[in-house]
Symmetry: C2
Subunit: 358 residues, 2 copies
Amino acid sequence: MEETLTYERLLLFAENIFLKIGCNNDDAAIAAKVLLSADLRGVDSHGVARLSGYVRLWQVQRVNVKPIINIIHETPSTAVVDGDAGLGLVVAPFAMQVAIDKAKKVGTGWVSVQNSNHYGIAGYHAMMALQYDMIGIAMTNASALVAPTFSKDKMLGTNPIAVAIPAGNEQPFVADFATTTAANGKLEILQRKNKPVPAGWVQTKEGEESVNAGELKDGGALLPLGGSREGSSHKGYMLGSIVDIFSAVLSGANYGPWVPPFPAYIPMPANMPGKGIGHFFGAMRIDAFRTAIDFKNDMDNWIRAFKKATPVNENQPVIIPGEPEAAIEKERRAIGIPLHKVVADDLKELGLTFGVIF
Amino acid sequence: MEETLTYERLLLFAENIFLKIGCNNDDAAIAAKVLLSADLRGVDSHGVARLSGYVRLWQVQRVNVKPIINIIHETPSTAVVDGDAGLGLVVAPFAMQVAIDKAKKVGTGWVSVQNSNHYGIAGYHAMMALQYDMIGIAMTNASALVAPTFSKDKMLGTNPIAVAIPAGNEQPFVADFATTTAANGKLEILQRKNKPVPAGWVQTKEGEESVNAGELKDGGALLPLGGSREGSSHKGYMLGSIVDIFSAVLSGANYGPWVPPFPAYIPMPANMPGKGIGHFFGAMRIDAFRTAIDFKNDMDNWIRAFKKATPVNENQPVIIPGEPEAAIEKERRAIGIPLHKVVADDLKELGLTFGVIF
């Protein structure tokens, strides 16, 4: 069922595909690196499995492979970046670097982005800050799949938040999560296995509780983190809304139900109020608050205290955010990235179409 | 069962109590205003009901009523504030004002606070930014009542996040929520009524599911937003952790299981790594990103779209964060603030003790 390829080989393949559709060398290299970072960290839904999806967006002319990415407004600690309809995989690292550069000068940097496309995993961009002893933050909006509390209508995307925080001898703390109970990728896995989903993940198109993994295809919606009114889904709805507003209302991108969909075959929403999809990035220099040494000592102490917290089941200790992903990355860099047959076949076909050896 | 007093009368009473314990005029006025803002907005658990609790913290010398609040480190966009063990009700508005002043100059301001105490409702501080056409953010850590996913131990507080966002003709968007499924105050209400709590709110001291509203008193813990592994409680755990780290590891306050408790009779944790409790504040000038007019037009459009989303039950439309609280405030400013008999009796006794007419 699976085929395992080295990271380097998949990276080169993705880079060559991006070159074939017209990206310049630098853009193709960074787009491939961001895309593959998802596979490395075990977020298979956001990695090479989506390469064809990005190509199809280019085919329908919704992605500009030669973007001129611009800062259109700025202050010492802020900027708005126009992605010129480029790949989010290219626009996002540019914008995050702007945030980092501003943090170097005035302590923090905050960048809202308009006119972009999907940017891969949020965690990659947030983690760019770590090497500078900064805290990194990345958010993005996405097309509407989520019903706010009390509604039948899909008004928000899965709108993820990533926060990367340096530590000393311990691994960095890296949180990266959708503001829904479950990401769409988890539903697809259960759907393939013909299994029900837990309560609180989806609702029917009439807004009723459901355990049907295929509910989205029947007009249903994902639910905000919390899952139900009693479970405080209004808090997940608020979080998703904050991500949407920071990413898109602050930048002039599309928001709410008007965010362009990732699948190229889905028509664009009518009456779009902004440009493309929106992201939001932040970088905070640790030593703009305390010395990095003091901070890292306390982070190590924090992490060790949480690791030592008494587990309910002794075989399952408390997990530090980012720890499982770092372990998967180590393993996959060593022994390769396993691809589901459907994904491998899709990539082979893509290679044939563009004359790139898979 | 209830007694209703005007806002002005309760405000004056609280102010006089703060004066009696030694606050200067300015500090007493702001402390009373912040405290009462909770009652005005319907967050009764965080308002005058806690006045005696603050006084008891002063009685055991855990609150310094004559603090010298200082900026101990800063850059153009950041600061660390030492609250000198003052009332959080006084320290927090000072620190949020520092964030606002920095935002005026360089676009955004970010302030982490050490050596503080409980600061009332997070929403008050975030909303301070609105009058300047800024987005306001406020977080705080709190003593550990929450078990991270997979653990029996209480390692985090209810660690709330508030985000206030200006709009044009619509009310501002004001989210203010604990990063747990339910705040402690909601448990207490159900406990008084002898009712069970919904699944996902608490667990027993052994980490088992529970619907016992009194579980905390039996050694149990609150659960992070999400409520269970299947409900993605790891996301609530990550959110609570981020609030803890931004508020306390970044400032040098106490974090995780070492945060001082609010009830004065609970002993302080051993081996505390920092000073007092920690807060984190942010202010972002809208026009550091876009013109305020454009932003507010889009916010109005966002809010109207969400209000018009098809409800599941036609009697319950989608709620915009902050809308119910604004309605309660309007009502309570007009007709007064209802006090539970237990609270009214407690305040009367407090008044007798300090010679302040209730």
